[in-house]
């Protein structure tokens, strides 16, 4: 007998009983999730050893679709929670997937300190230049001049360059891609999962429903086409030089890949020393 329904190749990695997901048509977040899960599959990653943590927001829902141990924290606290997990059980690989507002506005303090400590953790940020979930307000990455619900006359605040912030705070691996660069993004996620230390991947993801609409950027497909025109790959440049100006130029690539002693390893080393001593 032939099987009537072919299984999706990523079924084993996803909570199929939670489909359909909550994301809008044309949203970049599905692509991000797909890349992440593809990376796990390519690596044949041991799902018993994975914990996915996220904060609150559209992106924050990602953890709920992955079939590993996963946790949906309060707004902004994903990295802090994940730090507790990693220090408590260093055998686990902890991945944080969350939004620009969650990780860099309300949770910004935890981001810079986790990077400074160099705790082993992969943080993937979907940067959609606004607060998608709450209806499209201004966020810490909203470009100057952009319209949002709370910058109706155009944003007057300077935005963060997230990759630069990560590098300057001490991250050992930093890369930036867009949801157009699926293959490259998947490769970076694989690297990030393998990298020992604080790793950061910024993913430019269209939010067509709110950000796109207020700024007349067309639908999801138009926004993807736009990304194709303006993104430039420049591997190895220091991220402070990696322009991020939506509508003009977005520099993507693998920016930082360095070695530094890792925090949870060092905690374990002195536990060993004290217990034997």
């Amino acid at each position: 007998m032939t099987r009537a329904i072919e299984e999706h190749p990523l079924t084993g990695y996803l909570r199929i009983d939670r489909v359909p997901h909550i994301w809008c048509e044309g949203c970049g977040l599905g692509i991000l999730l797909n890349s992440f899960v593809q990376a796990l599959k390519d690596l044949e990653f041991d799902m018993d050893k994975l914990v996915v943590v996220s904060g609150i927001g559209c992106t924050g829902r990602a953890s709920g679709y992955i079939k590993s141990d996963a946790y949906h924290t309060t707004h902004g606290r994903a990295i802090a929670f994940a730090t507790g997990v990693k220090v408590a059980n260093p055998d686990l690989k902890v991945v944080v997937i969350s939004g620009d507002g969650d990780l860099f506005a309300i949770g910004g303090n935890h981001f810079i300190h986790a990077a400074r400590r160099n705790i082993d953790m992969l943080v993937i940020c979907a940067n959609n230049f606004n607060y998608g979930m709450t209806g499209g307000q201004l966020g810490p990455t909203t470009p100057i001049g952009s319209r949002t619900q709370t910058s109706p006359y155009g944003n007057i605040e300077q935005p963060f360059n997230l990759s630069a912030l990560a590098a300057c705070s001490g991250a050992v691996y930093v890369s930036r891609w867009t949801t157009l660069h699926v293959r490259r993004l998947t490769e970076s996620i694989k690297k990030g999962i393998h990298k020992k230390g604080f790793s950061f991947i910024e993913v430019i993801a269209p939010c067509s429903t709110v950000y796109g609409r207020y700024n007349r950027l067309g639908d999801g497909l138009d926004m993807m086409n736009d990304l194709k025109e303006i993104s430039v790959i420049k591997h190895g440049i220091y991220p402070t030089e990696a322009t991020i100006e939506p509508g003009k130029e977005i520099v993507v690539g693998d920016f930082v890949d360095i070695e530094k002693p890792e925090y949870s390893d060092m905690v374990q080393a002195f536990i060993k020393e004290q217990m034997e001593g």
Partner: protein, 381 residues
């Protein structure tokens, strides 16, 4: 010095006893942000945790420290933090997360008084209502109030046991005096210390529903890394742990989170009664003021006044029913607190219509036995 339990006799302060109580209970993770008068707990934990195979981390703030404690709890470790007033306010957010996702953990508040920064080096009992209601939404918690250094050790062990048993954050509310006060304590042999560990699932990962409660309203808890591949969220969730915005699921979950404590109140509530049986005047106190109260009650009895002391050991759940039952025999109640009126409201509600005299203390100094005795005499006269 790498012993987990430091059995023997020690002349130490409350913060030290609290740290050692945590270790005796099996605490293996501590995250905090320094604050007077709780810093000595962190300092002790920083020295001791690595010796017993545990991890200490100083966090960038109390928001993060509390979130990390919840994370460590989910990773299978007994986890604790300690703070004081301003830090306790910041922790409320993720205390709510611990309640909603049923993460066993212990939070110690070495209390001071006043809103904002207040008097950092002075003691108080300023967070007795905040501990009950500080996070948003409906919930129950357990909070314990030691009145001696020995009891600080004992109740910290107890706090871990209760948090593990009920999957709920449990609070040790130490007043700042006790935190810094030295007394002799006896630490028992490890075998003599009762330890409770969280209930583990007996189901296979395929069958496991992470928020399906047993008869006792408490769901068994798998740890991250155990192979159960479960999801947990601060959103209202069904038995699978999946977000659910229906009225039915909200109603069922919120009731269960409170009822798992309400139904066990009799087991959870602990008080100490001195001369209460035939008392007509009842002094109610907790923490350091209860020690002055004991002296005053003894003196009143020597004068022939039928006075008694009810000392709270658990502040929450509050022993409302016990006080209600006593109220018919009482002519007067005197309540002592090192604040401007917190638990006294609960006492008034419970003993109505018995009149309650409230003796507040603000700013470090606890009540003197004489002042309490004067109040007792006034009530009896």
């Amino acid at each position: 010095m790498s012993r987990k339990v430091l059995t023997g006799s020690y002349f130490v302060h409350g913060d030290w006893a609290c740290a050692e109580g945590a270790l005796a209970a099996g605490c293996k993770f501590y995250a905090a942000y320094p604050i007077t008068p709780a810093s000595e707990i962190a300092e002790r934990m920083a020295v001791r945790l690595p010796q017993v195979g545990g991890a200490f981390i100083q966090f960038e703030d109390e928001l993060g420290a509390m979130a990390a404690v919840v994370g460590a709890s989910y990773a299978g470790k007994k986890a604790m933090t300690a703070t004081s007033g301003p830090g306790f306010s910041l922790m409320q957010e993720n205390i709510g997360l611990a309640i909603m996702t049923e993460a066993p953990c212990v939070v110690v508040d070495v209390m001071r008084g006043a809103p904002s920064t207040g008097q950092p080096t002075k003691a108080g009992q300023g967070e007795m209502m905040q501990v009950r209601w500080g996070s948003h939404g409906d919930y129950e918690i357990i909070s314990l109030v030691p009145s001696s250094v020995q009891e600080t050790f004992d109740l910290t062990v107890e706090a871990f046991n209760r948090s593990e048993r009920y999957r709920i954050p449990t609070f040790v509310m130490v007043d700042g005096i006790l935190g810094h006060m030295y007394e002799r304590i006896e630490i028992p042999e490890p075998e003599e210390i009762d330890i409770v560990n969280r209930k583990k699932p007996t189901q296979t990962p395929e069958e496991y529903l992470p928020f399906k409660a047993d008869e006792d309203l408490i769901p068994p808890m798998a740890n991250f890394g155990d192979g159960y591949h479960f999801y947990s969220t601060g959103l209202t969730h069904d038995e699978r742990g999946y977000p659910d915005m229906s009225i039915e699921v909200q109603d069922k979950l919120i009731r269960r989170l409170s009822d798992k404590i309400r139904r066990n109140e009799e087991k959870i509530i602990r008080i100490e009664e001195v001369d209460v049986e035939d008392a007509e005047i009842l002094v109610v106190a907790y923490g350091i003021p209860s020690r002055s109260a004991l002296k005053a009650v003894e003196q009143a009895r020597a004068e022939g006044i039928r006075a008694g002391l009810l000392r709270l050991i658990t502040a929450w759940p509050f022993p409302t029913r016990i006080l209600e039952d006593l109220s018919s025999q009482l002519d007067a109640v005197i309540m002592l607190e090192m604040n401007y009126g917190q638990l006294v409201r609960e006492v008034e509600r419970a003993v109505k219509p018995t009149p309650v005299t409230f003796l507040p203390k603000l700013g470090e100094e606890p009540h003197k036995p004489d002042e309490i005795l004067t109040a007792i005499r006034r009530c009896s006269g």
